[in-house]
Amino acid sequence: MASEELPIDPSLWPEPPPKEKVEEYLAELEKGPWPSHVTELKKTKYPVYIYGMGLVAGVTPWATSAAKAPGIYSGVLSRMSHPWTRISPPIFEDHARVLIPSAQVFTTTLLRFLIEASRKYGWGLLQFIGGTGDVVLNVVREKLIELNVFLRRIGLDIGGSGDVMRNTVSCPGPLLCPYAVYDTLKARDFTYSCLIDWATYPQFPYKIKFKYSGCPIDCLKAQARADYVVIGTWRGAPDVDDERLKQWIEEGGDVEELVKSCPTGAISWGGSKLSIDGSKCVKCMECIRRAYPAIKPGKERGLTVLVGGTIKSRNGPKLAKVLIPFIPLPSPDKLEEALMTMFQIVRDRIVPKWDEEGWRRERIGDTLIRVTWHRFLSDFAKFDPDLASKITKVKPTEPYYTYGITFFNMSDEQKKKYLEDLNKAMEAWQ
């Protein structure tokens, strides 16, 4: 293909690398004890050679494309081989994000259907599962609609890309974990039943993510990745069961160690009775993890709602801030009412305002920094102005806080100097 036909300026982009080099690089990645993605890809119809070209050139071999999928407003992403690879006609790579069951519980029957779908309509390749929490299925462009109908038939759907409410993720919670304070799976199902319109049509400045973590351990890393985070928590001290504690000590539990492990010194041991000072407890779960079920999350349970955690954003990575410190959850069947309290603030106040004022491609966490925390509370969340000033003045006692990671542009001399020092240091390691 002659270079003048390319849409790009060829002087800026790399030349297609020689075939031997590509194969050498790919073979290199099949060696070693760790599972190899290249070996997996070679079992499918994925054009692994293009990946190898990218590896050698050091530039991504894919460019943006668009697939025609009438009726599917989110969930399909399309790529074509980058013009610099000079593959003619270009190879298209389309994939669909599949919304999967809560807590990623796949019965083998369902998974076999999914495998069948990927063989029938795609390349026999799945990303099981990606960072967004949904399965990514490579699909042949012409069979996109058929795939969607098939997936709907077996109880799944395509969705979760573009400026919509993305896939909502919950931790396994009560399904497998003893610490979960509330039913995270139910919370996820409930989110979809309330906000299905948000998941369907792109209508916002940027994406919205909800994530549900069952306890303050936050295995999902929800507070770093989601706009609206719900974390299970409790008020006061953890609940101590004296009977079970006695049993735990008989089985070899070390109380001295347990008392010492508390970071704030809230636990005291009177020789026969363990007492925990609720005002000092920071919910670090240390004692609970050591002595469950003798020590359990406290009786007065509830939800903490945080707002504005993002990584990919204008102002860099940041952790979420506490919006509502505590929504009481008197019994597990009151979960939907408790979540409704949050949805009323998010759905009726914050998101419409963000829709109005947010810049394009600006997530709520960035808007929050731009308009300041105080204005966010009074104008976006529509809290009483007195309450908003009170919240911003008080130094937060909650265990959540936020600051950013910096990025910078190093000059060539700086880089050279740093690498010299690094090499010197590495020689000493031998």
């Binding site: 997996e40 943006t64 979809y192 806080y401 880089k415 690094l422």
Partner: protein
């Protein structure tokens, strides 16, 4: 919501708890997404019976965890470490399905870290399953105080914005650290994230024990020819957090057709590359940086911790990344030897301090080369410059929106 109720009545539960939908499901006729089926319709009986009743989790081997319920039921999850970016071929997944049916209760649970958990209800079966998985060439392990997994983003596999390739880094790091998955124990849970660019789809770089991030390390060049056909100058101008981008205008018509990036303001954050494809990085200059010591869990004496940059630049060396692997292995090895039991990297560093960290690892102290701030803001170092660029960005933004 009459539609939703109608839809629920259409769901039929079959023997294997697969909820089929019927009727016209063509997206054109029914564009609204169908909500996930309530979990009670597909979760197997064994798990449903014990929801919220678990009392104990116990490590049997580094690959098997036992969950004990109040009712006396036991469930074992066997963990398989997936290939980088959890790319499974249909054949491999089918093999896992067969094993899950043969030894387990027919449940496979992929985790966001890229692992696959197979559930079973008997210890004998769990051990046999572990053996069988190993015989079939799967890597098992990673529960408890071990390396949980290395989670990369897709990068060159499908991504259009990636600066460097992440799955190959994950593979190279994995080969070097594979002993920590099963044989050797670490002081606490260790998870490593690899991302191809500062967007960090590979996992939260700010709360990972060790994060490797692709880093452009240069002011990008603009492919004017391509930009004029696919780019929107105002979109890209608005995307820049430091106001380093200005539209390039045709002098006769005043119409914007391209962009100019000012190198003295650029911080190489990659936001422009994220907006449009027609921005080029010189592959000879790109590299990675290493961040260490973040965690999202509210555990230990410190609660959540944000990671810090400890290695600002290592040039990219695909496909095996020798320098990077050496550096990460060094950090992990030093942590394993020096930390107390139960201390994650972040907690360990908080206890000994950053000076001691650089002394123990022997890495050059990064603070000598760069100055960091800890306040949120547009990704910048010194405060006075950040304020300046914030106002620049604001002015450009206001200016751009008026045209």
């Amino acid at each position: 919501m009459g539609d939703a109720a109608d839809q629920r009545t259409r769901i039929r539960v079959v023997v294997h708890k697969l909820a089929f939908r019927s009727g016209d499901l063509t997206p054109v006729n029914h564009p609204e997404k169908l909500a996930p089926i309530p979990y009670t319709n597909y979760v197997p009986e064994t798990l449903l019976r014990n929801m919220g009743k678990w009392v104990k989790t116990e490590l049997i081997t580094p690959a098997i965890v036992k969950h004990v319920s109040e009712t006396g039921d036991e469930v074992y999850s066997v963990k398989v470490i997936g290939p980088p970016n959890s790319r499974f071929s249909a054949d491999t997944l089918e093999k896992l399905c067969d094993l899950a049916d043969m030894y387990g209760i027919g449940v496979i649970r992929p985790t966001p870290q890229g692992n696959v958990e197979i559930l079973t209800d008997d210890e004998e079966k769990a051990r046999k399953l572990e053996e069988e998985l190993r015989r079939n060439g799967f890597l098992v392990g990673g529960w408890g105080n071990h390396l949980w997994n290395i989670q990369p983003c897709t990068a060159y596999l499908t991504c259009t914005t990636a600066v460097i390739d992440a799955p190959s880094i994950a593979k190279a790091l994995g080969d070097a650290l594979v002993e920590y998955v099963y044989e050797k124990e670490t002081p606490a849970h260790l998870s490593i994230k690899v991302s191809g660019c500062p967007n960090a789809c590979g996992g939260a770089i700010d709360v990972a024990d060790v994060a490797v991030v692709g880093y452009p390390a240069q002011t990008p060049m603009v492919d004017d020819k391509w930009f004029s056909s696919i780019g929107s100058p105002l979109d890209v101008t608005a995307a820049c957090p430091v106001g380093a981008i200005t539209p390039k205008r045709d002098p006769s018509t005043g119409k914007a057709y391209g962009i100019v990036i000012r190198p003295e303001l650029c911080i190489a954050c990659g936001r422009c590359r994220d907006t449009v494809d027609a921005i080029v990085y010189d592959p000879k200059k790109t590299g990675v940086m290493v961040l260490v010591g973040g965690k999202a869990s509210n555990t230990g004496p410190n609660g959540q911790l944000m990671s810090r940059i400890v290695v600002p630049y290592i040039p990219s060396e695909p496909p095996r990344w020798p320098t990077l692997v050496k550096v990460v292995k060094r950090i992990v090895d030093v942590w394993v030897v020096n930390a107390n039991k139960g201390e994650r990297i972040g907690d360990w560093i908080s206890r000994i301090g950053w000076d001691k960290f650089f002394e123990l690892t022997g890495l050059p102290d990064v603070r000598k080369y760069l100055r960091f701030s800890e306040k949120p803001g547009p990704l910048y170092q010194p405060l006075y410059r950040r304020r300046l660029t914030e106002s620049y960005a604001y002015l450009f933004r206001e200016y751009a929106s008026k045209i």
